[in-house]
Amino acid sequence: MSSITNIVDIDSKLSAQTPQEILQYALENHDNIAISFSGAEDVVLIDMASKIRQDIQVFSLDTGRLHSETYRFIEQVRKHYNIHIDVVYPEASRVEKLVKEKGLFSFYDGDHKECCGIRKIAPLRKQLLTVDAWITGQRRDQSPGTRAEVPVIQDDKAFARPNDKLTKFNPLANWTSKQVWDYIRENNVPYNELHDKGFVSIGCEPCTRPTGPGQHEREGRWWWEEATIKECGLHAVNIQK
């Protein structure tokens, strides 16, 4: 499934399927595959996957700055599904260097990327070097500006091992937030108590806040930074196939 054509063909086929069918495809076609669990509503992936296969691999990034509610929730999920959750941490020396040089809240002074790079991307990268495929809860409706084209399957070039392939599945890509919450309620899936406090998107404690009625969930993240449209995309509307 490594060629461009194959990935596009499979994406086209899987796009018409349910998240459960996409997960089934992912789990049947990859033994060494892991679910990335953020401690938010992507818990539905664990619920769905655990009904397909018992030996699912799950990992969570502990940035060191999560809400205590999120830590409690990760533990609740671990016990509820009787699974091992591989909690992944940033490299202590890099965090120490950042804090020593720039303090504990450097992201409010500049942009959040330096901190996220150390606390999220570096450990995520290390973790993804150990698998052949991964599963995320990314949805198109989470960030319309930059995520309108999230495919259900993609060749993850950024995190792949050198000269190797890494496949990324986004089974919830076509679902809306409402569909996710309908699933959570209909299936009695445990959820992070922060959602009852007005949080839609849940990340690190200093960089996440509740959103008000009518606000997009993205407004609950890094709100002090000016929203910018990513400029590296080649706008598909102009690409004639």
């Binding site: 461009i4 990327k113 999220k120 995520l124 990268r125 930059t146 070039k157 080649l234 004639q240």
Partner: protein, 113 residues
């Protein structure tokens, strides 16, 4: 040794302005003496779907710029949308972890983590 042809595709916005990231990478390659290792640089003009770069993007299903096409005789073309992967795997140049993470940060949305 198999001969290879390397093409860099960089973007121009529909309003005619250049893509900042494409410019930064081109500059970085110039400083590192890597531009000489490219066989061709072509433009993907968002205002012109028939521009060579837009056609290549469509052919290889690429939605990001810049990107690199590595063609080797008798083999399927390889597409690199991540600069550090391209220089490491094709130009055999070392890159630092910090540089690699910085590039990933600029391309990846993090609000699902």
């Amino acid at each position: 040794m198999i001969s290879q042809q390397i093409t860099m595709v960089k973007k121009i916005f529909a309003d005619g302005s250049p893509c900042k990231k494409c410019g930064e990478i081109e500059e970085k390659m110039r400083d590192a003496g890597q531009l000489a290792q490219l066989d061709k640089i072509v433009i993907a003009n968002e205002a012109d779907p028939k521009s060579e770069g837009m056609q290549l993007a469509a052919r290889y299903n690429v939605e990001r710029a810049p990107f690199f096409i590595v063609e080797r005789e008798g083999q399927e073309a390889e597409i690199y949308t991540v600069y550090f992967k391209f220089v490491k795997e094709v130009l055999n140049t070392k890159t630092s972890e910090d540089e690699e993470i910085k590039e990933i940060m600029n391309d990846v949305d993090l609000d699902f983590l």
